[in-house]
C-alpha cells in the first residue's frame, strides 16, 4: 500500500528539465558531479540536525555530565527523568495550555475577521471598496515595530472604554487579528471562484451570509487550511508581543514562560539539562505540525510567496 502510494507520487513528480540536461546527467562525469553535490547537501543537513541532536542529547545528561569537557556525544547514563522533571518544574501543562488557547483564539479571530472582509471585497464589492482596500493593504508595508510602543499604550488603556488588556489574552488576540496579508491571500483565492456560481446562488435567493457560509467557505478549504496552519505557527513562535503584554506567569505562553523560568540573568538559573529538556518539549509540537502538514505548508509558501 505504502509502496504503491510512493510509486504514484514519484510518477506525479515527473522532473522537468532544469539547469542541467538529462543528457549531461547520464554521462559518467555528470553522474559523478551529481552524486558529489548530493553528498555535499546531505552533509550540510547536519547544520540543522546536529544542533537539534545536541539539544536532545544534552537534555538527557546529568547535571555533572552536561558540564564536562570534552563533552560526551551520547550521555553515559541517559537521564530520561530530566524530561519529567522539566515538565513539572517548568509547569508545562499550564504553559502548553496557554499556548494552545492563544493559538486557537488567534485562528478563530483571524479567520473570522479576514474571511468576512475578503468575501466582501471579492464578491459583494460595495461602493467605496477602493478606499477600504487601501485602509487594509497599505498596512502591509508598515513594519510591526512602529506599533510596538503605541500599541502597548493603546492596549493598556483602550480609547473611549478605558479598559486595560494587559495580562489578558485579548491583548494578544486583537492586535494580531488585523492581518492584511491574510485578507490578501483569502481575497485572491475567493477571486478565483467563478462569479457565475455566486450569481446563480443569489438568483436562487441565497442571502450573502448563506453564500459566504455554504458556498465560499466550503470551496476555500485548501486556502483556509494554509492560513490556519500559518496562524498557528506564527502564534506558537510569537515572543516579543506576549512578553510585553503578558507578564503574569499564569497567562503566559510557552516561549515567554521559558524565557522567564530559565532565569539566565538571575541568581537561580534553571539547571541547564532541564532547560534543554524544556526546549525539546517546546519544539516537538511545531515539528510534528510540520511533518503532518508539510504539503500544505510548502504549498502555502509557494502560494503566497511572502510568508517569512
Amino acid at each position: 500500500m505504502l509502496t504503491l502510494r510512493r510509486r504514484r507520487r514519484r510518477q506525479e513528480e515527473s522532473f522537468e528539465r532544469t539547469l542541467v540536461s538529462d543528457l549531461v546527467r547520464r554521462q559518467p562525469s555528470g553522474r559523478a558531479i551529481y552524486w558529489s553535490v548530493f553528498a555535499l547537501l546531505l552533509l550540510s543537513t547536519l547544520i540543522t540536525f546536529a544542533p537539534l541532536y545536541w539539544m536532545f542529547s544534552s537534555a538527557l545528561k546529568s547535571s555533572i555530565e552536561i558540564f564536562q569537557s570534552p563533552p560526551t556525544i551520547w550521555p553515559l547514563h541517559p537521564a530520561w527523568s530530566n524530561y519529567s522533571n522539566a515538565w513539572t518544574v517548568l509547569r508545562y501543562p499550564l504553559y502548553f495550555g496557554n499556548t494552545l488557547i492563544l493559538a486557537t483564539g488567534a485562528v478563530i479571530l483571524q479567520l473570522l475577521v479576514s474571511a468576512t472582509a475578503a468575501f466582501a471585497l471579492s464578491k459583494l464589492r460595495p461602493a467605496g471598496k477602493g478606499i477600504i482596500q487601501f485602509v487594509f493593504f497599505s498596512t502591509l508595508m508598515v513594519p510591526p515595530v512602529v506599533y510596538l510602543i503605541p500599541q502597548f499604550v493603546n492596549i493598556s488603556n483602550l480609547p473611549l472604554i478605558h479598559v486595560s488588556l494587559i495580562n489578558n489574552w485579548a491583548g494578544v488576540w486583537l492586535p494580531e487579528s488585523a492581518s492584511a496579508l491574510n485578507i490578501l491571500i483569502l481575497k485572491s483565492f475567493f477571486d478565483t471562484i467563478p462569479t457565475e456560481l455566486t450569481d446563480a446562488a443569489r438568483l436562487d435567493g441565497a442571502s450573502p451570509w448563506r453564500l459566504f457560509y455554504r458556498i465560499i467557505l466550503p470551496l476555500s478549504r485548501p486556502v483556509l487550511a494554509v492560513v490556519t496552519i500559518f496562524t498557528v505557527v506564527a502564534s506558537w513562535k510569537d515572543f516579543l508581543w506576549p512578553l510585553l503584554v503578558l507578564f503574569n506567569p499564569e497567562v503566559q505562553p510557552l516561549s515567554v514562560a521559558i524565557y522567564h523560568e530559565a532565569g539566565l540573568n538571575s541568581n537561580f538559573p534553571l539547571p541547564f539539562n532541564y532547560l534543554m529538556a524544556g526546549l525539546v518539549l517546546a519544539s516537538v509540537p511545531p515539528i510534528l505540525l510540520f511533518l503532518l502538514f508539510q504539503r500544505q505548508i510548502i504549498r502555502g509558501i509557494s502560494l503566497t510567496g511572502l510568508r517569512g
Partner: protein
C-alpha cells in the same frame, strides 16, 4: 468611481423597488436611489465591519498615537505633557544612539550576506536534485518551525565557551576555541548565524517555488546557443526569478532591521553594548526608563528609515500584481 465599482449584474429583482407613491417624482427618485444604494451595499459593509473596526482600533489608531507620543512626555503615571522635539533631542544625544544604529546596520548587512546567498545557493542545488528533494526541504526548513526562544537558548548552549558543541568540535580538529558571545567583535556575527539558521529555510522554499517557474525551453535554447552552466544561471535562471529575488531582498532588509529576539535573549545587548540594536534600545527606554515618549521617537525614526524600503517594496508588489 462608484459607477465603476458596482457591477451591472448585481441588480436583483427585489432591489429596484423604486419610487413610493405620494412622493414627488424628484424626491422619490433621490429616495429610491438612496435606498438602492443601501440595499446594494449594506451587506458588503456589514461583512467589512469587523475588519474595519479591528484595523482602525489596532493599526491606524496606534500608528497615529505613535507619532503623537513622540512629541509628549509619557510615563503612564502622570498625565502626558507636550514637549515638542525634546524626545528627539534626547534620543539623538544618547551616546548609544549611534552604537545601536551601527549594530543594526552591521547586523542587516551580515544577515543579507548570509541570509540571501545561502538560501539561493541551496535552492539552486536542491532544484537540480532528482533524489531526496523532500528530505532536503525538510532538513533546511525544520529550524523555521522552532519557536525563536528555543533557537536562541539552543545556540546560547552551542556557543558556550567551555562546554559548547562548537568549541568542542574546533578543539577536536585542533583549532583555537573562541569566546563567541563574550567577545566584542564576534558577538554580533554569532547572532547573525543564529538568525540565519532560524530563517534561511523559508527563504529557500520561496526560491525553490520560483525556480519551478523557470521554463525548461529557456534552458534548452540557451544550451543550443552554447551557454555553459554559469551563463545559464546568470542569463536564464536569475533574470527569470528576479522579481522574487528583489522582493526578498527588500523584505529581508525590513525584517532584519527589526532584530530583537536574538540579542535580547542571547546576549542581552552585550558585551558592552556590542549587540545593542535599535529595537533593544526602544525596549530599554520603555521598560527600564519608562520613557514612552523617547521610545516612540526612536520608533518613528526607525519607521522613517524602513519606510523608504517599504515604499520600494510596495512599488514592486504592485508591479508584480499587475504582471499576474
Amino acid at each position: 468611481m462608484f459607477s465603476k465599482e458596482i457591477p451591472v449584474e448585481r441588480s436583483s429583482p427585489s432591489l429596484g423597488a423604486g419610487v413610493e407613491p405620494g412622493v414627488s417624482p424628484g424626491e422619490g427618485e433621490a429616495l429610491g436611489r438612496a435606498r438602492l444604494f443601501i440595499a446594494r451595499n449594506l451587506s458588503g459593509y456589514l461583512f467589512l465591519l469587523p475588519a474595519v473596526f479591528i484595523f482602525v482600533l489596532f493599526v491606524w489608531y496606534p500608528l497615529v498615537l505613535g507619532f503623537s507620543l513622540s512629541f509628549q512626555s509619557v510615563d503612564m503615571i502622570n498625565p502626558s505633557v507636550w514637549v515638542g522635539w525634546t524626545n528627539y533631542q534626547k534620543v539623538f544625544s544618547d551616546p548609544l544612539f549611534a552604537v545601536a544604529w551601527r549594530n543594526t546596520l552591521t547586523f542587516t548587512s551580515y544577515a543579507l550576506l548570509f541570509g540571501y546567498l545561502i538560501p539561493l545557493g541551496l535552492a539552486l542545488l536542491i532544484n537540480e536534485m532528482r533524489h531526496g528533494k523532500a528530505l532536503f526541504r525538510l532538513a533546511f526548513y525544520l529550524p523555521v518551525m522552532l519557536p525563536p526562544i528555543v533557537t536562541a537558548f539552543l545556540w546560547l548552549w552551542l556557543y558556550n565557551a567551555d562546554f559548547g558543541l562548537i568549541n568542542a568540535l574546533l578543539q577536536a580538529v585542533h583549532l583555537p576555541a573562541g569566546l563567541w558571545l563574550e567577545n566584542h567583535s564576534t558577538a554580533l556575527p554569532a547572532l547573525v548565524v543564529v538568525a540565519t539558521w532560524g530563517a534561511a529555510g523559508s527563504t529557500m522554499l520561496i526560491y525553490l517555488a520560483a525556480l519551478q517557474g523557470v521554463p525548461a525551453s529557456l534552458y534548452e535554447a540557451a544550451e543550443l546557443d552554447g551557454a555553459n552552466l554559469w551563463q545559464r544561471i546568470w542569463h536564464v535562471t536569475l533574470p527569470t526569478i528576479r522579481p522574487i529575488l528583489l522582493l526578498m531582498l527588500v523584505l529581508q532588509i525590513i525584517a532584519t532591521m527589526q532584530v530583537f529576539t536574538e540579542p535580547f535573549t542571547i546576549t542581552g545587548g552585550g558585551p558592552n553594548n556590542a549587540t545593542t540594536t535599535v529595537l533593544i534600545l526602544i525596549y530599554r527606554y520603555t521598560f527600564q526608563d519608562a520613557e514612552f515618549g523617547e521610545a516612540s521617537a526612536l520608533g518613528v525614526l526607525l519607521f522613517l528609515v524602513l519606510a523608504v524600503f517599504a515604499l520600494i517594496y510596495m512599488r514592486m508588489t504592485s508591479r508584480l500584481m499587475e504582471a499576474d
